[in-house]
Every structure is written in structure tokens, then in C-alpha cells.
Symmetry: C2
């Protein structure tokens, strides 16, 4: 089976801007991974005439039409009826679907409302695309030779499950997906997107696998995507490229796919059998939050002290009142004393600290918003790094960059201590 796919998302809430169209992105990613090209996405409201027009256009240009939304029990859920009507086929109550809906209500000790009966009506000749998590099933249907339709509910969780359990096997069986596209993403901290792109320029011109750079929240990514007959062959195409890109990226490369800097630091602490405590001022707990987002972090993370107020810096971290008075809370010496202090208080191998001006208030000419000091202490030495994250003048950004940079400093130090 050849031809291209098209996604039609049905829902007035999309036209009102009430929700972000994450279903379109999910389906786009899935089609890409299956090697199925798609050229158009259409969003249309809960309006039968306009949906019918969108279907007419899609039939002209695509061979596989994937619908999301409009399968619910209420009168504004019009997708199934509009499709049946467009192809001139009656809706027929499906006894199995009806029994399934009734059973789902019974499980929750509720009686099925008459509205829900509508969800058992499917176009004559269409197969059921089962929905294990909700009452709205989808359909798999060839209303004309060479034209495939699939419908899914708009609830992302239900769509994802139905896609994986039913749609992918169907598409493979029907010959839509002859190969697969597999990707590996390498993640970097410390290089700019353009400097990294320049270094790996030759790779960006490859055709299979392809290499593409992205950036989000300060993390730079290189995605390597290979098209092959099997997952195994795709991985074999990716592996040598990944090795070369990691070599070029050097110490800036901190992980793959879903790795965070918290994961990277966690692995290194486990390897070194070392423990960590944090002292946070402007990040207010966000550094600890990132570290403990990693399951199992209790093996190396003992805890920390959020020293938002200067009295806490003095009393719990042992920062000298004279240094606070002389250099201010946002200073190299205070960052170092915070790191050393929390290490002592929590009896850990490493102490990591952050003190800075996140804004919007508190900045001055000498100490502008975005000035951040990061301190790091172990049993033999204490040092600090001065950072300036203020160019956007954005409190969330300054706090985000501060905690990622702190983790990255510890990561580099642990790597060089191997």
C-alpha cells in the first residue's frame, strides 16, 4: 500500500485555542517512526458540514486519513456520523461495543446513560478499533478501495494506547509501514547550538541516518534518525554516527534520549559511591527537586538546606556574618561557604550551592539580575563559578539555568576525578 497519510483533528476547543494540539504531534511522530509520509494536518470544529468538506479534500489527496476527537457521547461529538454520512453508509449498532460500554459502566457501579448508546453506532462494514481505557471505540475502515480511515478519541492517553495496540499492527499488516524509522538523541550542555552545529556540520548533510540539531531550555540535542527494515538494522546504522558525535561533543555530551543532567550526575555519584547535599538560595529547592526527580536518588542524595534568608545561611550553613555584610549574599565567598557548610552539616562527600539574583527585584549595576554564584566543595577543596544568566531578564530562566549549570559543574568535576 502506498500513498500519504493525513491527520484530521476534530474539536471546537482546538479552534478556540483552549487546548494545545498534542495529538497531532503524537501522530506525526508515530507516522514518522513507521516511515509513513504525511503531507497535511487539518483542524476543524464540531460542525458536520465543515468536517464533511475536510473529508472531501482529504480523500482527494491522501490514502490514509486519521481522525482524532468527536467520538464522545454528547451531541457535539459528530465524527462517526459525519464519516458514515459522507460515504453514504448507515450507522449500525454494534452489539459487542454496546456490551463493552455497559460493562465499563458496571465496573464503576454506574448505569450507562442513553447518551452513551450512541458510541456503539458504527458505519456498516467498519471494523472496531478497541479502546481498552474508555467508552469511545474507534473504527478501522476502507470505505473505498485504497482509502483507509481510522478514528480515535481526543483523550491523549486513550489515543496512545489504541495507536500502539491496534493501529500499528493494522498498518503493518496492510503494508503501510514497510520499514521503521528509529531515532537516538544525544544531549549536550555547555556548547551553544550554533557552535555544536558548526563542529558537526558534515553530519548534518547525511541522508540515512540523518542528524538534526535542536535546543530547548539550554539543552542542545542532536537527533540521529535511521530508516531501515528492522529496529536492529536502524540501530546498526545509528551506532557509529553516535560514537563519532559523542567524540566530537566530548565532555559536553551528558546523555541520551530522556536523560537529564540529574540522571547524569546520579550515575556518576553511584559510580564513585559518593554522596551529595545541596544549599540553595535563589533556586529555592529547585536543584534538590531536579536531583530527586530521578528514581533511586536516595542512594546518593542526602538532602539539603534552602537558605533563602541570610539568617539561615548563617545559622544552618555557617556562612560568616562578616562576609555576608562585606561581600553580600550573592558573592563567591558566600557560595563557597554555603557549599562547604552543607557538606559538613549533612556529612556528605560533596556540597553544591547556588546563590544569585533571580529578579525581578534585587538587581544593581554592580550585581545585576542574573548574576549567580555556584559553589562546590569536597573534602580537599572548595571552589566557585560566576555565571550571568540575565540577558532575558526572566526569573524562571535564571532559576532553570542556575540549577542545570550547578549540576553540570558537578558532572564535569566528577568526570575529571575518575
Amino acid at each position: 500500500m502506498t500513498g500519504s497519510a493525513e491527520i484530521i483533528c476534530v474539536g471546537t476547543e482546538l479552534l478556540l485555542g483552549d487546548i494545545l494540539n498534542s495529538n497531532a504531534q503524537y501522530l506525526a511522530q508515530q507516522l514518522t517512526q513507521l516511515g509513513i509520509s504525511h503531507h497535511y494536518q487539518t483542524v476543524v470544529g464540531d460542525n458536520p458540514q465543515r468536517l464533511a468538506k475536510a473529508i472531501a479534500i482529504a480523500c482527494e489527496r491522501s490514502r490514509l486519513i486519521i481522525f482524532t476527537g468527536g467520538l464522545g457521547p454528547t451531541p457535539d461529538d459528530i465524527t462517526t456520523a459525519t464519516i458514515a454520512n459522507f460515504f453514504g453508509v448507515p450507522l449500525v449498532e454494534n452489539a459487542d461495543v454496546l456490551a463493552d460500554i455497559k460493562a465499563k459502566f458496571a465496573q464503576r457501579d454506574r448505569t450507562m446513560s442513553n447518551n452513551n448508546r450512541k458510541q456503539a453506532l458504527l458505519p456498516a462494514g467498519a471494523a472496531v478499533l478497541k479502546n481498552p481505557q474508555g467508552t469511545a471505540p474507534g473504527i478501522l475502515w476502507q470505505p473505498r478501495p485504497g482509502l483507509h480511515l481510522m478514528t480515535f478519541p481526543g483523550v491523549p492517553r486513550e489515543l496512545h494506547t489504541m495507536w500502539k495496540t491496534s493501529a500499528i499492527p493494522y498498518l503493518q499488516e496492510q503494508g503501510w509501514s514497510s520499514g521503521i524509522i528509529h531515532s537516538l538523541t544525544l544531549k549536550f550542555w555547555g556548547a551553544s547550538e550554533s557552535s555544536l552545529a558548526t563542529k558537526v556540520d558534515a553530519f548534518l548533510k547525511l541522508e540515512n541516518p540523518t542528524v538534526a540539531p535542536y535546543a530547548s531550555n539550554g539543552v542542545i540535542k542532536l537527533r540521529i534518525s535511521a530508516k531501515a527494515d528492522t529496529l536492529e538494522s536502524a540501530k546498526q546504522l545509528i551506532a557509529p554516527i553516535a560514537t563519532q558525535l559523542k567524540y566530537i561533543g566530548g565532555i559536553d555530551c551528558f546523555g541520551e534520549d530522556n536523560d537529564t543532567l540529574g540522571d547524569a550526575v546520579g550515575r556518576l555519584l553511584l559510580k564513585h559511591q559518593a554522596t551529595l547535599a545541596v544549599a540553595e538560595s535563589c533556586t529555592g529547592g529547585g536543584l534538590g527537586e531536579m536531583i530527586t526527580a530521578v528514581p533511586g536518588s536516595s542512594a546518593y542524595f542526602m538532602g539539603g538546606i534552602i537558605s533563602y534568608d541570610n539568617t539561615v545561611k548563617e545559622r544552618l550553613l555557617g556562612v560568616a556574618a562578616s562576609d555576608l555584610a562585606k561581600s553580600g549574599a550573592v558573592s563567591a565567598i558566600v557560595a563557597e561557604q554555603m557549599a562547604a557548610g552543607v557538606r559538613t552539616q549533612l556529612a556528605t562527600d560533596w556540597g553544591l550551592s547556588i546563590t544569585g539574583i533571580a529578579g525581578p527585584g534585587g538587581g544593581s549595576t554592580i550585581k545585576p539580575i542574573g548574576l549567580v554564584y555556584i559553589g562546590l566543595a569536597n573534602d580537599s577543596e572548595t571552589h566557585h563559578i560566576e555565571c550571568r544568566f540575565g540577558h532575558r531578564n526572566d526569573r524562571d530562566w535564571i532559576r532553570l539555568m542556575s540549577r542545570n549549570t550547578a549540576l553540570d559543574i558537578l558532572r564535569r568535576t566528577l568526570l575529571s576525578n575518575t
Copy 2:
């Protein structure tokens, strides 16, 4: 000017699923607020033939076509040329735009590349839609009577600025937006979406203003939207409905629009001139992070202790080793001792604590994943709440619910102490 609008987003990265189409949502929200109806959104790749087909379809059914993406300097940026070609109009180099691009490069001490010269080519007769933040200007153009086109770059920040500074005034001047739609969102914690919807059922049937319920991350929202000639009249329509909904929601209503539970707690602490410290176990700093996300939180938040390891609970918070041994770290008595201990250590009016099992490990039949104790202490008493957040078995969700619930408990307590 009447008729409906249509959004065409151009970019192969959207078809590959590399990015979420946040521009479509932004424009949809903006059109809704301006009272301009739009019935279709189309996504198409960086392909001139397919884009031309999408334009042909849009011209048939819409009177205002808003394009995003494809205005950059590289060969795959084809939006402007495709539009000009479709309407049979030549591209003309605009001297002002070229000067502006050159000046922007000069500001950054760089020389304009030849690629960028392309961004000064506009269809003859089109007006420039200025881009103060980037090198890609858009166009405002009526290629035929009654048909309006606007183009924007795909970079969200640039799109937003251009929309506000140029597109809105143009649409109002052209008579597209005769009125405005203004919304106020009320936010609730503690009620389920369905129970709140039941209580306010009569309001959900209103026509102007409308009231719609939403839920995200445990926060329930009621959005009140009014259509009127002016912002002032819209606000007057909204005010009495908001008053009634707040009355019905009672103490569950914690704020409006962008308010978080951290904002709500902050306002109450300021009002009471009271200070707060936190002791966190399973949230690892996330509670402090939420509190300090509020600018100015240093006025009431002193800091906290992240007692991830039990030794930290004992040594820094004064939790009794015997209670840890007898009841375990996740217990009512430990939560209370953590709250009282951090209050004493940081010398604050209030101490707020969280200890729980976030998973994926650490659960048992008696203490399942998702079991969380929240402790609250002031100078006269200490109490705790037991919560169960494990139904999704999702570490992030358990941590999110824990910190929001802790803030909500403090909020309710502060309200009842007035």
C-alpha cells in the same frame, strides 16, 4: 469586513512531529479574544506545490488567511515566494527591510549573509509587517478584494510581538474585530471537576458570558468569557458571574488567571505578617521551588530543610530516632516532627512538611506508593493530613500533588485563622 479566518502553519518539522504546534493555539486564542471566528487550521510542509494547494483551498472558504513559518533565509523557507507566485505577483526587494536586516546584523557585529537578502523580497503591493525582534518581516496584503493575508515567522516570541504590535491594530482598523472577547479564569483546589461542574451546572448553560470547566495537574478551572464592544463592558458582564461562582466554590477557590497556590499562600502570609519554613522528604525541594517561584517570596519564606535521608531528619529536624524506627519515615508522627522541627530551626511562624512514598520503589501493602503525610506546625499546635495519590502510580504526579496539597492545607489554615 466579515467572513472567517484560517490558520496555515508551514513547516516540515510539524509534519515530522519535532515540535508542538503552539503557534496554532496562540493564534486561535487571539482570534477568539478578538471575536473573529476561524473554522480551519492547516499544517503543510516546506513544499511549494502542497502549500499552493493549501492556499487555493483556503481562498475558497476563508477571507483572512494567517500564515506562520517559512519566512527564514534558507532554501526551505518558501512561504513568501509561494504566496506571490500563487497570486501571480512578482517579488520585489524592499529597501527599508533590507536596511533593517543589515542594521540588525551590524548590531551583533556580524555581516549580513547573502541568504538573508532573500528576506527583503516581498510580493509587489504587500505592506511590511515589522518584526522588531528578528530579521524575518511578515506581510499584510490584500491580493484580491475581500481577501486578507498575513504572514508571521514560526518563532513564537517574534510571532507574539508582531501580532500584538501590528496585527491587532490592523484587524481592528480593517473592521475585522468589532468587539472583543475577554476571559477571567477562576482556579480551585480540593473539588473534583465533576463535583464543581455539578454545583455550577446552571452557569454552564449561559451564553454571554459563557462558563466552561477545565482541569490540569489537579487544578480545576472555570473560565468565564464575555463578548462585548469594549474591555470595560466585557469586565462588567463577567464581574457578577465571578462573584457568584466564587461564592459557590467557597474556600476551594484559590485564585484567578495565572495565580498558583504559591501565590495564594504568599498573599495570606504577607497579610498575616507571618513567616514560613518547609521540611521536605519525597518532594526533594519542589515545595520550596513552588513557593520561591513567586517574586518577592523572600518577604515571608525563610527557607527549608530537604531531609531526604533519615539521618537529616534526625540531626537537622530533631525527629526522634525511636519514632523513625517504630513508625517509619512515612508516618504521621514523623511529618509532625518535621514540621515542628523546621519551624524551630528556622525560627518561623509556620513549619510545613512532606514525607511520602513517590515510587517507583519503596511501596508495601501497608504503606503503598502514593501514601503521603503532610505536617503543619505553628506556635500553638501541630497536626497532619494523610493523603493517597498512588492511583496513577506516577512519581511526578505524586510529587506534584504532594506539594500542591501541602500549600493548600496551609492556605485553608491561614484563611480560617483570619
